[in-house]
Symmetry: C2
Subunit: 260 residues, 2 copies
């Protein structure tokens, strides 16, 4: 059983990528909608909230935990790995940083203020490939724009242009979307960056790593015969959450509200 969590329902973009590669792997999702967003909160608070969620997922029998939230990955992943050494904990930042180098010598990373100001992407990418030039940009308004479903608005395009101006001038050849909400703006972002920049998401890179991990397991969860039902939980349930979940997954799901 894979436990996946995010500050909200945005992490379902990661679930979508996982299901693309492994349709039958059973998952339990938790979205902390009662306390979202995490991107503007302190390290200490994000660690506390993340621990509470991991306790919940563990109690549901999850052995593998996916931190689908970039802000939590940035400031709480190492903390959680130390605290829960018995669990296999993957996070979108560590996997997102594994950028394959084709012609790519200049990579851009965008995310929330918490993610970008932590400097973690830059550190991790440079550690894996010290010749890679890394440019980062916080885009704190992207999440509220997606949450408001302003995805096709001219105002949004203007804001995307403003945020990406520097990265465009740097001529990055790869742009990593370091926030679960950003794939919903992928079209506008790709349009603004132009054809020479390849846009990739941290979710697709996480799904690849998860598949590799599971294939290495003695019990191959990918091949179990009667897959368990996927379960979706949130700490606060509103119509907007349901709508966004449907928009991301392209289907209706049952979401249950629970108090942690």
């Amino acid at each position: 059983m894979i436990g996946i969590f995010d500050s909200g329902v945005g992490g379902l973009t990661v679930v979508k990528e996982i299901k693309k590669l492994m349709p039958d792997v059973p998952i339990i999702y938790f979205g902390d909608t009662a306390r979202l967003p995490y991107g503007n909160k302190s390290r200490e608070t994000i660690q506390k909230y993340s621990s509470e969620i991991v306790d919940f997922l563990k109690s549901k029998g999850c052995q593998t935990i996916v931190i689908a939230c970039n802000s939590a990955s940035s400031v709480a992943a190492d903390y959680l790995r130390e605290k829960y050494s018995e669990l296999n904990i993957l996070d979108v930042v560590s996997t997102g940083a594994r950028i394959r180098r084709g012609k790519a010598k200049k990579v851009g990373v965008i995310g929330t203020t918490a993610t970008i100001s932590s400097g973690i992407y830059k550190k991790k990418i440079s550690k894996l490939d010290s010749n890679m030039e890394v440019y980062t940009q916080a885009c704190p308004l992207f999440v509220p724009l997606v949450e408001e479903d302003w995805i096709r608005r001219p105002e949004t395009k203007k804001i995307v242009r403003t945020y990406l101006r520097e990265l465009k001038l740097k001529k990055v050849d790869t742009l990593l979307l370091g926030c679960t909400h950003y794939p919903l703006l992928e079209k506008i972002i790709s349009g603004v960056m132009g054809k020479r920049t390849k846009v990739i998401t941290s979710g697709e890179k996480l799904a690849e790593k998860l598949r590799a991990d599971l294939r290495g397991d003695s019990i191959s969860i990918v091949e179990i015969e009667s897959p368990a039902e996927d379960k979706y939980f949130v700490s606060d349930l509103k119509n907007k959450n349901k709508k966004l979940a449907g928009m991301i997954l392209g289907k209706k799901i049952k979401i249950k509200k629970i108090d942690l």
Copy 2:
């Protein structure tokens, strides 16, 4: 001792209005920055969070509570008044709705999605003056724009124009800013609405009501000789919170982080 709370530090715009009328009244402020914003959360969750805060303010000796958060005022004020019948509870929505009628026959109210979709301003204003035409508009992006300090940006002006288009067409003669963050955008909003629309804030109307209440009290808190020190608490403390607090109050204050 007056206890004032908001989902974040935005409620300090209400503190500012109170201090303008009553510089010496001692206050305790609580901003729930670990769980903000409230505007996109459910009624049940907002009621739970508000109760926890009122318990805290009560434990600090507050007899009068000011709900500076419009979202909490909209969905939790009556609930809190019933639960804490021993306290005098004022909220920015009930006081904001007392719009004096000059030539004003058409009033516009803007706020977060939670505030506007609750319909409470419309209901309260119509109850006080059934001849008043009330038009409302949710402006969910205003809070993140203020939080990001995009107060003087052309993108912000464009978004303000988009949100206010309908109210401008209705030719409202009064516009009530029904969210604690909006006074920080007052200049842009006034500019977009034009000279014929008077822009008022819910904070200034609350301060007037509070002064009237305190004057009616047997012990006049306004006239105590050695005022207690004001105290400011938040549930999560970041530099951004401190910066916004300073921007609102025009001075540095000591803010203490506590867990509820």
